[in-house]
């Protein structure tokens, strides 16, 4: 073997990827050729330096297996597709208590970009989602009482211009938010606690057919839509190209403060 041939194989040789016969040929050449031997030395230095740098990863989290399993189980029924966040999600799952607490809490902000399937009203779909969320004690993706932080997180993760209004904590406590996809459409929701109840406020992209099954109410110059389904109230409005829907077992008057303001 001559130098020009050896150079073609030198990288695969150092990666131990040559078949044995060719590897022996390259090895024998290197042993007798100081120039190619030197090139191998240099290449080894380069790849060691590169490996050291590429394998530096201070941000790699510990593999928390119990949290990971919780996540797998919680996400088993969630449609796949959207990138998920790890940090707040893992923290939440690890804490565990949050998800458990959610069961006792009132949720206000649910998001499902659900385009209702034919024959299924939006209220039905949202209540289904809400009940599923509560029954499964699904964890939130972001746990925060800060409406601005939750809004920003949901906007960044769903491409929906979600705006979570600040609420008087004496009236309702924001717990956090979660995103999901339904029929491939991005969606998100936030959860509130109101006394011993939960309320969820869902944000989904506006569509013409979304509210057709709900009762339109024009009051004080504003329009909203309302429906009742399996013991739940669903209160919806249109804001900024999105539909916001509040779902809870609480009555309408308790939920209306959770609706985003008209100028929101």
């Amino acid at each position: 073997m001559i130098c020009s041939e050896a150079r073609q194989y030198i990288f695969a040789f150092l990666d131990n990827e040559l078949d044995s016969a060719l590897s022996v040929e390259v090895q024998q050449h290197i042993e007798h050729c100081p120039l190619c031997a030197r090139e191998c030395e240099i290449e080894n230095v380069v790849r060691r330096q590169l490996a050291a740098r590429l394998q530096q990863a201070p941000a790699v989290p510990e593999f928390d297996e119990s949290a990971f399993l919780s996540q797998l189980r919680a996400e088993a029924a969630v449609p796949l597709g959207a990138p998920r966040t790890t940090r707040p999600y893992w923290k939440l799952v690890t804490a565990g208590a949050i998800a458990a607490a959610v069961v006792f809490v009132a949720s206000l902000f649910v998001v499902n970009s659900a385009r209702p399937t034919p024959g299924v009203s939006l209220a039905d779909a949202l209540v289904d989602d809400f009940q599923h969320f509560v029954a499964e004690s699904k964890p939130l993706h972001i746990v925060s009482t800060d409406a601005v932080e939750v809004s920003e997180w949901l906007r960044n993760r769903t491409s929906l211009a979600v705006s979570v209004p600040p609420i008087d904590p004496a009236m309702a406590s924001l717990m956090g938010g979660r995103k999901c996809k339904i029929n491939g459409k991005p969606a998100a929701f936030v959860i509130y606690r109101i006394g011993d109840e939960m309320a969820s406020v869902v944000a989904l992209r506006e569509s013409d057919e979304a509210l057709v099954h709900m009762k339109r109410v024009d009051r004080n110059g504003h329009t909203h839509w309302i429906d009742h389904c399996r013991g739940h109230t669903v209160l919806a409005c249109r804001r900024g190209g999105l539909i916001y829907a509040v779902i809870s077992r609480l009555p309408e008057e308790s939920l209306s403060p959770l609706m985003p303001p008209v100028n929101g």
Binding site: S4, E5, R7, A12, A51, L54, V60, P61, F68
Partner: protein, 190 residues
Amino acid sequence: MSEAEAAFLRLVRPCWRRLHLVARHYVRSAEDARDLVQETLLRAFAAYNPSQDRSYREGWLFVIQRRVAAEWVRTSRRRVALEPVDHDELTELVGTDLSAPFDALPSSSEEQFRESLDQRVVAAFDSLEPAYREVVLLSVAADLNYREIAEVLACPLGTVMSRMARARRALRERLAHSLEAERRRPGALR
């Protein structure tokens, strides 16, 4: 814990860190890297069926990770730093004579050489064409062999071998230019 979950954990455990290392280069932030790994593993588990008559190798997880990263190019492009290129769409990066002599690196002591490399090797790596960067990344950070890389890139083994050689050569070339530029800088130590 179910048998499937236990088996899946056994598959994930040894490559958890490497999935993050690779993810960190597919995307722009550490947080997005965690998202990418999370999405990868959720999808992998959804498809995981150990009762099937098939074996699951670590490379399979990197196949899915790359697929998710490619999907993010369409859905969240701003998060992606290294765009996976379909083999079918890739005009193989040629033009390098693999038998030509290597670019000479400026002479220096071994210690100086290592120090100067340490400052430049990542910049040289980051300047590589995406297809070159990815193949080196899968080898160095994911610790995959050529056959596994071929599986991840969905291309023939020969393509991996060729691309790896060109990528390594390109890296040497960038380093040589960088070191030479430093050597010519006024006031630089000779």
